[in-house]
């Protein structure tokens, strides 16, 4: 008989032992799983924020255009001519102030009354939206266009991109530190829980050793127990996180904000995150158990 691997009878026995142990320490298990759930919800929350920020930045970056605001008396034709001959310009559109007002109104879901703002009273300037052939040409083109007569000001979201980049790098740092701390905390909890489980079964383990049980047979139920705890914790976390995120997405759709912040709803991106969290929590439980067994179970 092979003695180092577990056969089907042993596996059945180990499974039963794990569930008996979980049942016996149910409160401890629930508290541990609960704290893991909270830790991983925060972790998952940060992950979702990071992904959404990433999406916003890449949206912004792929849509970099130079907004060229004109004086009221600007010669639109002349500027158009110059833009036609400017190297690095991919395309441009002219947005007269009337169109601008209409666009703005649409943007605000027609909540802003436009009466009295048309014609002479229109506060918006005419503008050109210029797209560069390559993103890195934008600052140079902007400087060039700024020098054209009739151009009041030129904007290309320089400050926004800089700010978004700073926010992302800050978020990434916080995310990394928080997730490391949370993972360590969750691991420590699993280690403690499994330690208590090991201690409560010390006598049984001693007898098992005398009866010729293999190390894997003795260790496996504890590893399984840790994995189940991790899994329960993460499952709760993903369910809560999923529900909260769904609510957020739904409520954002009805908000003005939705135009600026389009949350990630692509299931191909979200599903791997939730499955990844589930796998991570389960593995965390297993690894925590192994550390605990290594430290507290002499077989």
């Amino acid at each position: 008989m092979e003695v180092t691997t577990l056969n089907i009878n042993s596996l059945r026995y180990c499974l039963r032992q794990s569930f008996i142990s979980i049942y016996r320490n149910i409160w401890l298990v629930l508290v541990t799983a609960g704290i893991i759930a909270v830790s991983l919800s925060i972790f998952g929350g940060f992950l979702l924020i990071a992904i959404n920020t990433g999406q916003i930045i890449s949206n912004v970056e792929s849509n970099i255009e130079i907004a060229v605001f004109l004086h009221n008396d600007a010669n639109v034709k002349e500027i158009q001519f110059k833009l036609d001959n400017l190297k690095g310009v991919n395309n441009y559109t002219f947005v007269p102030k009337e169109q601008g007002l209409e666009d703005f109104s649409k943007l605000m879901n027609n909540r802003i009354p436009l009466e009295g703002l048309s014609g002479e009273n229109n506060p918006l300037p005419d503008l050109f939206r210029v797209r560069a052939t390559r993103a890195e040409l934008v600052p140079e083109l902007a400087r060039e266009i700024q020098g054209y007569p009739g151009v009041e000001t030129v904007e290309y979201g320089e400050k926004l991109i800089g700010m978004l980049n700073r926010v992302t790098s800050w978020l990434n740092t916080v995310f990394l530190v928080m997730s490391t701390l949370l993972a360590l905390g969750a691991m420590f909890l699993i280690i403690t829980t499994i330690r208590i489980s090991v201690l409560s079964r010390q006598e049984e383990i001693g007898i098992m050793k005398y009866l010729g049980a293999s190390n894997s047979f003795i260790r496996f139920p504890f590893i399984l127990e840790g994995m189940v705890i991790g899994w329960i914790g993460t499952l709760s976390a993903t369910l809560v996180l999923g529900a909260v995120y769904y609510q957020l997405v739904v409520s954002l759709q009805h908000e003005v904000l939705a135009f600026f912040i389009q949350p990630v709803t692509d299931i191909d991106i979200l599903l791997p995150i939730f499955i990844g969290l589930l796998v991570m929590g389960t593995l965390l439980g297993g690894i925590g158990s192994m550390v605990s067994i290594h430290r507290h179970l002499q077989v």
């Binding site: 008989m1 180092t4 009878n9 042993s10 026995y13 007898i207 005398y210 009866l211 010729g212 047979f217």
Partner: protein
């Protein structure tokens, strides 16, 4: 079957060795009493045989193989051929008599069908049929030790190692327990019993290995306890 060659075991407490330069042979099917005062080295010999501890010096052979050189899986296989019986029974309190005996087979990964076949037979051999559902707390010392013996024999071991098996059992029950060991031995199993129970040793007239301060001072076939110790 078993051979001790110049085995010495010192514990790291600076004192004299627990057993010193022991050499002895044990053949298959023998019944052996290890006798001697407390601290003579009886339990150390039992622990060495189970390889719960390693010798400081010397070699210990089982079927011509040095057990101190066993790999983890060889050691497991070896231990599965040994049934251990303890002075304090070491039964699991939360398990019934039946479950305690079945446990010995469960940890070896045996099938539920085999367990259902073998456990009642082992309990019958030790005279505990009808007590299957009792918990250890409901048993007398003698009954508890018989559960311990059933648990040791249920896996059909080659060797039974018993360390003071009658230490917590009254006189009448001690006799019955020794009778059980005798019966098990008659079935071909090698039985090694460390004991203080001189009356029983004298009565059974088996091979007696007497130890004193870690050395063998007498190794006698059909011997007695010799109250001098």
């Amino acid at each position: 079957m078993i051979e001790f060659k110049n085995i010495t075991k010192s514990y790291n407490n600076g004192g004299p060795p627990a057993v010193a330069n022991i050499s002895l042979r044990i053949e298959r099917g023998e019944f052996i009493f290890l006798v001697g005062p407390s601290g003579a080295g009886k339990s150390t010999l039992i622990k060495l045989l189970f390889r719960e501890i390693m010798p400081t010096a010397g070699r210990l052979f089982f079927l011509k193989r040095n057990i101190t050189e066993f790999t983890e899986s060889e050691l497991l296989r070896y231990r599965r051929r040994i049934g251990m019986v303890f002075q304090d029974f070491r039964l699991l309190k939360q398990k019934t008599v039946y479950e305690n005996v079945a446990f010995a087979l469960e940890v070896l990964g045996q099938s539920p069908r085999k367990i259902r076949q073998k456990v009642p037979l082992a309990l019958e051999k030790v005279g505990l049929t009808g007590k299957e559902k009792a918990f250890p707390s409901e048993l007398s010392g003698g009954e508890a030790q018989r559960v311990g013996i059933a648990r040791a024999i249920v896996k059909d071991p080659l060797i039974i190692l018993a360390d003071e098996p009658t230490g917590n059992v009254d006189r009448d029950n001690s006799k019955q327990i020794m009778k059980l060991f005798e019966g098990i031995n008659e079935g071909g199993t090698t039985v090694i019993v460390a004991t203080h129970a001189w009356e029983l040793v004298n009565q059974l007239q088996k091979r007696v290995i007497a130890l004193k301060k870690g050395r063998i001072i007498r190794d006698e076939q059909n011997g007695g306890y010799d109250t001098e110790y």
